[in-house]
Amino acid sequence: MAFSGHTELPVAERAAFIYTKGRQKPGLKCEADSIAGCVSQRACVYCGARVVLNPITDAVHLVHGPIGCASYTWDIRGALSSGPELYRNSFSTDLKERDVIFGGEKKLARAIDQLVEKYRPPLVFVYATCIVGVIGDDLEAVCRVAARKHGIEVIPVQSSGFAGNKAAGYRAACAALWRLIEPAGGMPEKKSLSVNYLGDFNLAGEVWIVGSYLKQLGLELNVAFTGDATYRSLKNAAAASLNIVQCAGSMHYLAEKMQESCGIPYLNVSFLGLEDTADSLRRIARFFGDHRIEQRAEELIARETAAVAGVIQSCRKKLAGKRAAVYVGGGFKAISLIKQFRELGIDVVVVGTQTGRRQEYAVLSELVDNGTVILDDANPAELEKFMLEKGAHLLVGGVKERPLAYKLGLAFVDHNHDRKHPLSGFIGAANFAREVCSTVCSPVWRYVHTPVPGARAGGAVWAAAL
């Protein structure tokens, strides 16, 4: 490819987004727009809003726009439900040329009517896509009328794709969620041992793992935002006595809002990796100031750590000394992954995110060793360059990064929507270790750098691999 092996960056503006620890003075540009033509791996506002709200299982998620936006987001999320499955359908107003010219409000109103009649949902979300922002449909008004007509909540999500990036979509989703959970008739009575879990989307059933930990501590999981959430459960959100926030990128804003308006304090937590999981459980227990809860937490940590110790140990033996690259959506995940890799004896040599925040990058940079490359909004060319330069054996990322890693002959773990096993909690740490092992230790890599048998001049490579 164009600049394999070169050390210079061809686009000068990108330099500010990349930083090598120990080699440059600290400071990294982030929270900025992507540069046109650089092949960002990022998505749009709509995407951010959709991923956050979609796991609400009994809602109609209606995408107001041309067909594509709805098609691409049809059930690719991997968020599981313990009950309703309405959210797994794809609803679109499927705007056509005449709607674009004459406006899409009437069609939207009809779509809401027909869907409400068919499915009788308690709640409808209407997502604005780019085009809606441009043709100027009054989403607010259409939703208000529909809500009155059907006696249910119809909530517009202001997620026109161009109005920023994924992070702006998180805020749009939080704004929509707040409309849903803001207590209308004064504060509900607080439930004393009740916790909301923000920023987990129940990928592969992860909310259920954390929910069971809370239960073992003697706490109740009031509602998770938004994994496996329903209209009813969200309506009770304000009754919790504590919010714990996993994906801070998407939910920080809402946590702040709930602290301010509902008086619910929040803790930032992470259930990725043994260290972070144990630490989070301890901090939750400490919050309640009840030594019985703290004691149960210690017992749980001891029990669960012991249960997975064997797996972690045996994986560690195979993995020690390997080098990993991390490219994920948000900063919180990247931070946890670095610690988790350390538990497996793996060094993180490249780490980047799509939408990490300034504070998160500061923590990242504290955590990593000198020489590690940190980068924001990376493109495939940069990922390739730094993974090769740093000799990474493994990449952790999402769908677009997978084939890139494979083409380079590197192992890969999906830590995004395509994950198939839960990666949260102690059991998740064991799953993660197994997954890393199963890809890094697969015999298939042996064939990558070996020539066709009998081909000239390649014999040495073949021998070395065996």
Partner: protein, 454 residues
């Protein structure tokens, strides 16, 4: 998940439920990847581009690179000219393609960016090319987008420069997998005819492992060849939806005769393709292909009782569905529900003609969605469902054997390496359908009915 689909069918006018199509730009992006050393570029917000890349990545399990103009609020108000010019400059600097193929999105279409003017004002390094297609996603579907980008290849690149037309055939393969493109080229090669295929994603989206990340793998139609397509004697467009328009555009532009055939799925459509080649060029069907055809007929006879009278529902892209329906009828099957998400064209009448000839009554719809298909199936159950990955929900809800065919297939692999076109492709289809039906028969058999030989 589809428990709440009611059997009672009422008229709907407020959009789509579980769409059977997607938007134009992804088709344009796929077509653009079929030019050698081309970087597709999406003119709009970066979300669209991210989705299209993810979707293609999931289907092909290969890296899909494409740039975006990364619109923000400003661009959507003041127009995207500045973004596009920056993008073109950056793409050539960083990724050094030979050609950038730009497609619009619904956003840039709606604000009315004038691409030819913007491109004219852009800095394009000497020897490099920029082409564009308009792909408003509120018209047509991904198939329309594929056709539009292929037409752009003709508009920008093809030229009639030779005094006399050359003894070569252009083939526009339509929106099919790389393996299908390979197979079509193999058939043409066996007929002894020089061919120019465009777009051609063989070698791009099924590239071999080399241990290196090749931004531009060895495959793809060469720009010089697409140029030379203007000198060919004939263009064969495989599929009236995805391929016909560019072929006719080439006919008007360079006087290359255009011939539209079905996608060569099944025995009849493959025969037609080979006969068309034989009819237009001095060539004969070689023994090797006669042998393949003979094997296919042999297999069809061996297995015909598995298929005869079985009811099938089929959905997907119009060219694929049309050709496959013909094959199903040749097997004595009864395609009782036939649906495509792509609107317009003569899909309904073409299918109706096939069915009439075979004496099969069916529901047929262009521009339908999977909710409708599901309702049809509830009212008239079928023995087999054929379609892309999204069919799995219906298959599960109604407990029907399911064969994955078309685009996208997100939950299985290898489909992009194994053709469904040509005689060999027909054999593969027979294997897939036959196994689906027989596995089901085994599953459902009572202990005393389970047989070793079927």
């Amino acid at each position: 998940m589809l428990d709440c689909t009611p059997a009672n069918i009422v008229q709907r006018s407020g959009g789509a439920i579980n769409p059977a199509k997607t938007c134009q730009p992804i088709g344009a992006m796929y077509a653009a990847l079929g030019i050698h050393r081309c970087l597709p570029h999406s003119h709009g917000s970066q979300g669209c581009c991210a989705y299209h890349r993810s979707h293609l990545t999931r289907h092909f399990r290969e890296p899909v690179l494409a740039a975006s103009s990364s619109f923000t609020e400003g661009a959507s108000i003041f127009g995207g000219a500045a973004n596009l010019k920056t993008a073109i400059k950056n793409v050539f600097t960083i990724y050094n393609p030979d050609i950038i193929a730009i497609h619009t999105t619904c956003l840039s279409e709606t604000i009315g960016d004038d691409l030819p003017t913007i491109i004219k004002g852009a800095e394009i390094p000497p020897g490099k090319l920029v082409i564009h297609a308009n792909t408003p996603s509120y018209q047509g579907s991904h198939i329309t987008g594929f056709s539009n980008m292929t037409r752009a290849m003709v508009s920008y690149l093809a030229e009639a420069t030779a005094a006399q037309k050359k003894e070569q055939v252009n083939i526009i393969p339509g929106f099919v997998n790389p393996a299908d493109m390979r197979e079509i080229k193999r058939l043409t090669g066996l007929m002894g005819i020089r061919s120019i295929m465009f777009p051609d994603t063989a070698g791009v989206l099924d590239a071999p492992m080399t241990g290196k990340f090749e931004m531009y793998p060895a495959g793809g139609a060469k720009v010089a060849d697409i140029r030379d397509a203007g000198n060919s004697r004939l263009t064969i467009a495989l599929g009236s939806y995805a391929a016909s328009d560019p072929a006719h555009h080439l006919e008007r532009k360079c006087r290359v005769r255009a011939l539209t055939l079905k996608t060569p799925i099944g025995i009849k459509a493959t025969d037609d393709f080979l006969l068309a080649l034989r009819g237009h060029f001095a060539c004969a069907v070689p023994a090797e292909l006669e042998e393949e055809r003979g094997q296919l007929v042999d297999i069809m006879i061996d297995t015909h009782h598995h298929f005869f009278g079985k009811k099938v529902a089929i959905f997907g892209d119009p060219d694929i569905v049309l050709a496959t329906t013909e094959f199903l009828l040749d097997l004595g099957m009864r395609p009782v529900h036939v649906l495509t998400g792509t609107p317009g064209g003569d899909f309904e009448s073409a299918i109706a003609a096939l069915l009439r000839e075979a004496g099969v009554e069916a529901n047929v719809r262009a521009g339908g969605d999977l909710f409708l298909l599901h309702q049809w199936i509830k009212n008239q159950p079928v023995d087999l469902l054929i379609g892309n990955t999204y069919g799995k929900y219906i298959a599960r809800a109604e407990d029907i054997p399911f064969v994955r065919l078309g685009f996208p297939i997100l939950d299985r692999g290898l489909h992009s390496y194994l053709p469904v076109v040509g005689y060999r492709g027909a054999m593969r289809l027979l294997e897939m359908m036959g196994n689906a039906l027989l596995d089901r028969a085994d599953r459902d058999a009572a202990d005393e009915d389970l047989e070793l030989v079927m």
